[in-house]
């Protein structure tokens, strides 16, 4: 009795197919039996495949159609509210949120439809350049850490002429775009405040805690830190020394050609940056050394006004 091609037959056929395709360049003699199985087995496999492909295609088409509809609606929406998106920071933030939810990033490319439609890529690029500029201008006063709120205020002052206000959300987005520069820009949370770091130092938990403590008076003393955190004096002094110096050069750099031309000035500055985040003060009559943190106490907005 002749065996019909069952599971075993199919498996043999599959194996033969693999074998024959992998060695198709060299003409191997195929036994008459396996050749017969191949002839019988193929159409059946094709049928399965065809049905499967068909289902997948229908699904994809449907998905594509839905996406197209959605995209066109999102575009309509964007077109209709173009002015609101441009002028109104709250509206802009909500638009971003909506886009994020459906996985569209209007900032993904400067050349894409979104950028063309809204000019929104340019908007954040420009914002990024201005943020870099402000960080640069205030760095000698704050050591490269600036309060997000303050940054935003300075940014608004600078953009007064354009009459487009910007929100903290916009700042955050623009800073996010600046991440291509390597480990340069970062937003860190210290207590309730958000600080923008434009120096190549990674601040650890100890540093963060000290910065948070400094927010109360603008300064800390070694005694205060030890009492508050129950640290050994070595630990407190170590952390403070680092904050005074802050000159670590980041380990990973992008090749210099990857840096947009307009940011080169900043980039070189970034490489040579040595100023500390803290300043010492030995002038108090109690004789205790105070460590001041311009980023939390010395108003950079005022400092920036001075040319």
């Amino acid at each position: 009795m002749r065996r019909r091609p069952g599971i075993g037959g199919l498996q043999t056929a599959a194996a033969a197919r693999v074998w024959s395709s992998s060695s198709s360049s060299s003409p191997f003699p195929i036994s008459s039996q396996s050749a017969q199985i191949l002839i019988l087995g193929f159409p059946l496999q094709d049928q399965y495949r065809l049905v499967g492909e068909n289902v997948a295609k229908i699904r994809t088409d449907l998905m594509k159609e839905q996406l197209a509809t959605f995209r066109s609606q999102l575009e309509d929406f964007a077109r209709k509210h173009k002015n609101d998106i441009r002028k109104n920071p709250t509206f802009r933030a909500q638009f971003h949120e909506m886009c994020a939810k459906v996985g569209v990033d209007p900032l993904a490319s400067n050349k894409g439809f979104w950028a063309e439609l809204l000019g929104i890529g340019d908007f954040y690029y420009e914002l990024g350049v201005q943020i870099v500029d402000i960080c640069l201008a205030t760095r000698s006063h704050n050591g490269g850490l600036i309060n997000l709120q303050e940054l935003c205020t300075l940014l608004c002052q600078r953009r007064k002429a354009a009459r487009e206000s910007v929100s903290e959300d916009d700042c955050l987005r623009a800073i996010n775009k600046l991440k291509v520069l390597g480990s340069g820009f970062e937003v860190i949370s210290v207590g309730k405040k958000k600080l923008v770091r434009s120096v190549p130092t990674e601040l650890n938990k100890d540093h963060n805690e000290i910065l948070e403590l400094a927010q109360a008076n603008g300064y800390v003393t070694v005694d205060e830190i030890e009492r508050r955190f129950l640290w050994s004096s070595g630990r407190a002094v170590d952390a403070l020394e680092t904050l005074l110096e802050v000159s670590a050069i980041p380990s990973s750099f992008l090749p210099i050609t990857a840096v947009p031309r307009i940011l080169l000035k900043w980039f070189y500055f970034y490489l040579t940056m040595q100023e500390g985040l803290a300043m010492i003060d030995d002038g108090h009559k109690d004789g205790r050394r105070r460590y001041w943190f311009p980023c939390v106490s010395f108003s950079a907005s005022v400092a920036a006004e001075r040319p």
């Binding site: 000698s140 006063h141 050591g143 300064y219 005074l244 110096e245 940056m273 040595q274 100023e275 500390g276 300043m279 010492i280 003060d281 030995d282 002038g283 108090h284 009559k285 105070r290 001041w292 311009p294 106490s297 010395f298 108003s299 005022v302 400092a303 001075r306």
Partner: protein, 179 residues
Amino acid sequence: MQKLGDFKLPHFFNYPPYFTLQPIRDTREKQVQLWKELIIDYCKTQKVFVIGPEEEFPLFSNPVIERSLSHDAREVFLSALVQEGRAEWVDKGHKKCLILWLRIQDWADCILRFVKDNGFEDGVLTVEEIRSGIDSRGTELHGMDRTILMKALKLLEHKGKATIFKGTSADDEGVKFSA
């Protein structure tokens, strides 16, 4: 903003650590830079020509934040100005420092302009006349420090544009300008 007379003080003047010399090089450079500018600005607007590091000087302490510059700090800031040619120690002991908000060369140019404007070429003036005479009223020369004036005149003499000679009274000298 805090003021000294009609002089507007910069913000860093109210920030205590700027009164302590900073140990970190770059931070200190920035600090020295700010102080240099402040001293020059203040002296220029208030017509101060001489600062003694050991004497009282309005910029050297800020009662509002209860801080004052240590002697070392004063010496560092003034020496930085000296290095740039914007100040000169009068004595080796560094007790007095001339603040040159105009360089000697610039003072010399001022004098030449004054001479030209008033037609004193080939004329004779006493040093005191240049400093406090009627003709110099309203010019930068009026009330200027005698030591600096003498330095400027000596520079002009060196260039052959003036001749200094002893005047009739013992403590005044005369200058003859050549056209």
